[in-house]
């Protein structure tokens, strides 16, 4: 009986096994890449907002402190989005007729709040608390990036779980002096000082990666 397969079939077989492996690996890689892509994480994606508010202008240009608008960042879990009142406090005097600020004026007059598009939004099963991070000396910049240089706000980090865990397992990486928390572009403290700060502020590292610290 004649050979059913030409000798080249062996090569095909080997090739397809190899190709299959590469394909599977490639798919896994694609899946991974997809999960890490901005498409999923929205990292560095700028969203349209009712008012094109520039952090760059207000922070770097005018020198406003974060806490001027994000009132409760030191006290509560939510940092707080400023009420219309805060915007209007200045903008009833400066730039009071500019068209761009019409939604602010309308909101103040009608009592209808401005609905911003949320940029930093962790999943609902994550219970993030701003105040404790501030109290322990983690700078705004560590999670929010160089906000002072952003004309329009965007998410600088993925805010995925590995990002959180990275710091929760090794807080020395991001810990700062108290006075630097609300500053940008601060030089990291030395490794020894970081260790000191972690001890001083009674950060219990073995507890920080427990599930119920963030999920419950």
């Amino acid at each position: 009986m004649a050979q059913l397969f030409h000798p080249i079939a062996n090569a095909y077989a080997k090739g397809s096994i190899l190709f299959g492996g590469v394909l599977a690996g490639g798919l896994l890689f694609l899946g991974w890449a997809h999960e890490r892509s901005a498409y999923v994480t929205s990292q560095n994606v700028v969203r349209d907002q009712p008012v094109p508010f520039s952090h760059n202008h207000h922070v770097s240009g005018l020198g406003l402190d974060c806490r001027y608008c994000h009132l409760s960042v030191e006290k509560a879990g939510f940092a707080g989005i400023p009420p219309t009142q805060v915007c209007y406090g200045c903008h009833q005097i400066i730039w009071k007729d500019v068209k761009m600020l019409e939604p602010v004026r309308a909101s103040y007059k009608t009592g209808e709040p401005i609905a911003w598009n949320r940029v930093h939004d962790v999943p609902d099963f994550v219970y993030f608390n701003h105040s404790i991070h501030i109290a322990k000396g983690i700078g705004c910049e560590s999670c929010h990036g160089p906000v002072n240089q952003m004309p329009l706000i965007r998410k600088a980090k993925t805010l995925q779980m590995d990002f959180c865990l990275d710091c929760h397992r090794n807080p020395e990486k991001n810990i700062r002096e108290k006075e630097d928390v609300f500053k940008f572009g601060v030089t990291p403290v030395s490794a020894e000082r970081a260790k000191e700060l972690v001890d001083e502020r009674k950060i219990v590292k073995k507890q920080l990666d427990n599930c119920w610290v963030c999920h419950r």
């Binding site: 989005i81 939004d121 219970y127």
Partner: protein, 1123 residues
């Protein structure tokens, strides 16, 4: 009636018990037969119990055996199923049959989608700030406001948690004497009541939507005429009124309209207590009890731990006198005489079963023994053994001024008067009981009754009727026939229809629901819930508090104040203005400040009702036997006494639409979603009943109720107990049409009827009780001690054994003295004693097995600051269920419905197991024990090891974390949990479509979805909040700073939570008690939740095993051993 005929299962004693699968199949058939009925009628082969065999079994066990249910005693297959499996066999199968093809398809789809689940994009969300941020709001943090819940007329003071403007949880107001920080189960559940989407949303006039303005116009239009006729034809019907503002408004109205009538009615009332006080003192006084002063308490048909106004406080005071955890040299003693088991009966040291109608005789016999001048001295010997009564009288006499006799509100006036006389004879007045000026409003000499209103309606004397709250068309006693009277006055329906013109021109009803009463009225006005309206109310001792709203009315609800204000010609005022204007002249000092303080504190300072020195006009007048028109039929063979009580969950029906309360297992019967006719073993046998048999109960006056039977130990022989609150025709989506309506048989004066004919109907009804669910199997799940054995090195049981041992040895020694040889036995050695002590305590830290395959966690104070633990005191637990609902509210726990409950799928994270112990009473009158069981947070947790996806893990503080997002629903953890505290979401139980119910959820706790396991978290959200606060201040969490929801709600402080690494913490102190033990300690899983054994304090002469007891009068010394 929604009882379903299932003629196919007559059930004979010899019929083999069907397998659950067959039963399920039979259920399918039956379901088909009654398609559309909508009720699950899987008949779980309610077995015929061999009660004699059970009695014998308990006798052999010597009264030392604890049991959960008759099914357990009978060891039925259903019970084995609940013990051996996580869920009973039939519950694990799919609800619909699935063929192979469909199964493979589903498998393939789920495999394909398994990974895809994680790829869902998070939806883009908006973030919406305030326009003007209110002062004091901290975004995402809770605020607390003092208010009060009017329940049955009386105020229950509360502190309500509000998040972002919506109330989500109630706690007790710690500054108010009626609460001291604790709440009742009803207050906890009232949160769901507020967000109930079935509440009425609009003003309705004769079936059409209308406006409040139009109603005001119509009522004002009638004012001129009313003035002219001095109010003749005007009737106002309320429930019990303690609100000072409403009382003043009524007073004012009755002055303006002297011929107007105010009536008051609610099914659970205190009219008899009032009449009793009038008879005894010649004036209307309200007794206020001081259980904290009472060493001996006798309660007669009186569940002072659950049913009285002020029960929350009474429970605290009572238990504080019997807590045996600290160095305490005395413990109070509770005697209970009652017809049907109550929480007071379960907490008692001695309990006698006497029919409600005979309680008065017991009181009279006792009064005669104590030297009170009574009409006659009947012989109560057939009710309570003469010896027992003698001991009881002696015990009371030897505690003059520190004992207390309380009688239930349902008892006739004569019984109340007798109790006053006994308390007076014992010198208790001013010590353990105070008489204060009436707490209830007494405008115009007090309200008229419902019967008077009904006859005025029938006679056509009422032109304008305002029904403010209540639901008389549903909950009036059938004898009064309020519905008929109202219909006649309205000229609708019934036989009287012909030609009769309507005499009632305006009938308006203010109610939270568009229910039975509103359906008949011309006008229905939506009533604001107490959490959304201003108001005031008095607590049990008269302390007034202002009710402040936590949220604007969701549906534009109005209050009774506003309706009455229309009559006063002040229609424009808001409830706030009315209440404030009442208090303005009554608060001392600067009003603005005083008012702020009243609202902040939740009470008006020094507003407690004045204590009066009562006069004495007591002449014993025995209650005439009301034979109810059937004279001479005394105790025929087929008759029983019917006792009608409020349901422990839905009360008189006002909570019928509250699903939390419906699904809450009733404290003693553990029934859910239904009421049943409770029957004791003797009656059960006499009428050859089995559980679920529908019986017809016919009163001598011919009224009939059909109800399914449920067997319960501790019931008085020949007494059948019915519960109110069910059989609602128009309650809402949850409460309509479940159970039977006991109001059909409710008499007007006292809630019991004698000579009721009981007959089987041949019908069956499926009742669901959860008492066998989550059964644990192991040694000494419940432990108990008697107070006088506490000072001894080893508990009573051990002592008894040791003495037997000694006696035996002595006999042996005597016999063998001269023969030499065998070494004389000198009783247990020191080591044996030690071992016994260890056994009583469970395994202490030192004695625990050290060899373990579990990871060696280090919890030393050096490594970790907090080592959370919970201690539950079974002596303090009265089984009131407040903790269960508090947990449900705090942790967003869903309800699952009756059918799912029947499969053992109820979701409560915290359950209260109820056990019985035979001790002399056998199955007829056993002792009752309550054991709340949350997650044990084992240090060596078996659940953690079996999870394939690490969804349940151990954390540094030793908590057993449950991570919902990792959980894939294998349920291995639940199978491996010896305590059965894990709950699985078989369906998407929390799928909420109603927007108001979304507002109810606690934002601090994840809402779980289908296919996810969940369990008690020790309220980790509260721990986290405290930890964050403490860490910000660079300090440790203080003892008592974290209070779990169950702990905070508990009226008796039975639950303590704290840090084991803090040597000064309360929980550590409790752990050092010799009563401390762990559940199933022999498994060596080192649970963090531990228990204190129940301590009872029986009278030495009344103890079943009095032979072994120490001499009476010897005060035992007791010092906690330090380990």
């Amino acid at each position: 009636m929604s009882l379903i005929d299932e003629a196919s299962s007559p059930g004979s004693p010899h019929e083999p018990v069907r397998s659950p699968r067959e039963v399920a199949a039979a259920g399918e058939d039956a379901r088909g037969a009654v398609a559309g009925a909508g009720l699950p009628i899987v008949d779980l082969a309610s077995p015929r119990y061999d009660l004699d065999a059970m009695r014998r079994r308990l006798e052999v066990a010597g009264g030392e055996e604890y049991w959960r249910s008759f099914d357990q005693l009978a060891d039925t297959p259903e019970f084995r199923d609940f013990v051996e499996r996580e869920f009973p066999r039939h519950a694990a199968v799919w609800d619909e049959s699935v063929d192979r093809r469909k199964f493979l398809g589903l498998m393939g789809a789920s495999l394909a989608l398994a990974g895809a689940g994680g790829c869902l994009h998070q939806p883009e969300e908006k973030i919406v700030p305030y326009v003007r941020q209110p002062d004091g709001v901290k975004l995402g943090e809770a605020l607390y406001f003092a208010t009060a819940m009017p329940f049955n007329g009386y105020a229950e003071p509360l502190l309500v948690t509000s998040r972002m403007g919506r109330p989500i949880k109630v706690e007790g107001n710690p500054e108010h004497p009626a609460s001291l920080g604790s709440t009742s189960v009803f207050a906890q559940a009232s949160m769901l009541g507020m967000y109930d989407p079935d509440r009425s949303k609009t003003v309705i006039r004769r079936g059409n939507v209308d406006t409040w303005g139009n109603f005001v116009e119509e009522l004002e239009g009638r004012l001129a005429g009313m003035r002219e006729w001095k109010g003749a034809g005007l009737a106002i019907l309320t429930e019990t009124v303690t609100s000072p503002t409403l009382g003043a408004q009524l007073e004012d109205l009755l002055k303006t309209f002297p011929k107007a009538k105010w009536h008051s009615y609610q099914p659970v009332h205190r009219n008899n207590a009032r009449a009793g006080a009038l008879a005894a003192f010649g004036e209307n006084l309200t007794p206020v009890y001081k259980f904290d002063q009472a060493d001996v308490v006798l309660a007669l048909d009186c569940d002072f731990l659950y049913e009285l106004p002020g029960s929350v406080r009474y429970a605290r005071d009572f238990v504080d006198k019997r807590r045996v955890v600290d160095e305490i040299k005395s413990m109070n003693r509770l005697y209970v005489v009652e017809s049907t088991p109550t929480l007071a009966g379960a907490a008692s040291d001695h309990r006698w079963r006497v029919a409600s109608s005979k309680i008065e005789s017991v009181l009279r016999s006792l009064a005669a023994k104590l030297g009170v001048d009574v009409a006659k001295t009947p012989d109560a010997a057939e009710l309570i053994p003469a010896k027992d009564l003698g001991v009881l009288a002696d015990d009371l006499t030897s505690h003059k001024g520190s004992c207390l006799v309380v009688v239930g509100d349902a008892q006739p006036p004569a019984a109340h008067a007798l109790a006053h006389a006994i308390n007076r004879a014992l010198g208790n007045v001013g010590k353990t009981v105070e008489y204060v000026e009436p707490v209830e409003a007494t405008a115009g000499g007090g309200p008229g009754t419902l019967a008077e209103l009904a006859s005025a309606l029938r006679d056509g004397k009422v032109e304008t009727l305002l029904i403010l709250g209540g639901n008389p068309v549903y909950n009036a006693p059938a004898e009064v026939d309020f519905e008929g009277a109202l219909k006649k006055a309205l000229g609708v329906g019934g036989a009287e229809k012909a030609g009769a013109a309507a005499s009632l021109v305006l009938c308006a009803r203010l109610g939270e629901y568009y229910d039975e009463t509103s359906l008949l009225a011309h006008w229905h006005l939506p009533q604001a819930h107490y959490l959304e309206s201003w108001g005031d109310a008095r607590a049990y001792d008269g302390t007034a508090g202002v009710i402040q709203p936590l949220i604007a009315p969701l549906y534009g609800g109005k209050t009774a104040y506003q309706v009455l204000a229309v009559l006063q010609g002040r229609s424009g005022l808001s409830a706030y203005e009315i209440v404030q204007s009442y208090w303005q002249p009554r608060l001392s000092g600067d009003f603005a400040n005083a008012w702020r303080k009243v609202i902040h504190d939740g009470l008006v300072p020094d507003s407690k009702s004045a204590v009066k020195q009562p006069g004495w006009t007591f002449v014993d007048k025995p209650t005439a036997k009301t034979t109810d028109g059937a004279g001479g039929k005394e105790s025929a063979d087929d008759t029983v006494e019917l006792v009608i009580t409020p349901d422990p969950c839905v009360w008189d029906g006002r909570f019928a639409n509250n699903a939390w309360l419906q699904e809450l297992a009733k404290p003693l019967t553990k029934l859910v979603w239904d009421n049943a006719a409770l029957v004791g073993p003797a009656t059960f046998e006499k009428f050859h009943l089995s559980n679920g048999d529908v019986v017809s109960l016919k009163t001598p006056s011919g009224r009939k109720v059909e109800a399914p039977v449920w067997l319960i130990p501790g019931q008085a022989d020949g007494v059948v107990t019915l519960a109110l609150g069910y059989g609602r025709a128009k309650a809402g989506k949850v409460g309509t049409g479940i159970g039977y309506d006991a109001y059909e048989a409710l008499p007007v004066d006292v809630p019991y009827v004698e000579n009721v004919t009981l007959a089987k109907t041949g019908k069956k009804y499926y009742l669901v009780a959860t008492h066998d669910h989550w059964s644990m199997e192991g040694r000494d799940v419940v432990k108990s001690e008697t107070f006088d054995s506490l000072g001894k090195p080893h508990g009573h049981a051990a002592e008894k054994k040791a003495e037997e041992h000694l006696a035996e040895a002595k006999a042996k020694e005597d016999g063998e003295k001269h023969e030499g040889g065998a070494e004389p036995n000198k009783g247990p050695s020191h080591e044996e004693k030690e071992a016994l002590v260890e056994r009583m305590r469970g395994f202490k830290e030192s004695g625990e097995p050290v060899i373990s395959m579990f990871p060696d966690w280090d919890y030393s104070p050096k490594t970790i600051e907090n080592r959370w633990a919970m201690q539950i005191d079974q002596t303090a637990c009265i089984g009131c269920n407040a903790c269960v609902i508090a947990c449900q509210a705090e942790n967003n726990i869903p309800i699952v419905g009756k059918e799912q409950c029947g499969k053992g799928r109820e979701m409560h994270w915290l359950r209260i197991d109820r056990y019985y112990k035979g001790a002399g009473g056998g199955i007829d009158n056993p002792e009752s024990y309550f054991q709340p069981v949350p997650c044990m947070h084992c240090e060596d947790a078996p659940c953690e090891l079996v999870c394939p996806v690490a969804a349940t893990t151990h954390d540094a503080e030793g908590l057993n974390n449950m991570v919902y997002n990792r959980c894939v629903g294998t349920r291995y953890c639940s199978n491996n949990c010896p305590y059965k505290v894990r709950r699985f979401n078989f369906f998407n139980y929390t799928k909420i479509t109603e927007p108001t119910l979304k507002m109810l959820q606690n934002p601090e706790v994840t809402v779980r979805s289908r296919g996810v396991m969940e369990k008690c978290s020790y309220c980790v959200q509260r721990i986290d909040a405290a930890r964050i606060t403490a860490k910000k201040e660079l300090r440790s969490i203080r003892d008592g700073e974290v209070r779990t929801a169950c702990q905070a709600a508990c009226p008796t402080q039975a639950i303590t939570f704290g840090n084991l690494n803090d040597t000064k913490s309360h929980v550590v102190r409790l752990r050092e008690s010799p009563l401390d033990y762990a559940l199933l300690a022999e498994l060596g899983v080192r649970p963090r939740t531990r228990y204190l054994a129940r301590v009872r304090n029986p009278h030495p002469e009344l103890r079943i095993d009095a032979v072994d007891s120490p001499q009476p009068g010897v005060v035992p010394t007791y010092e906690p051993t330090k380990t």
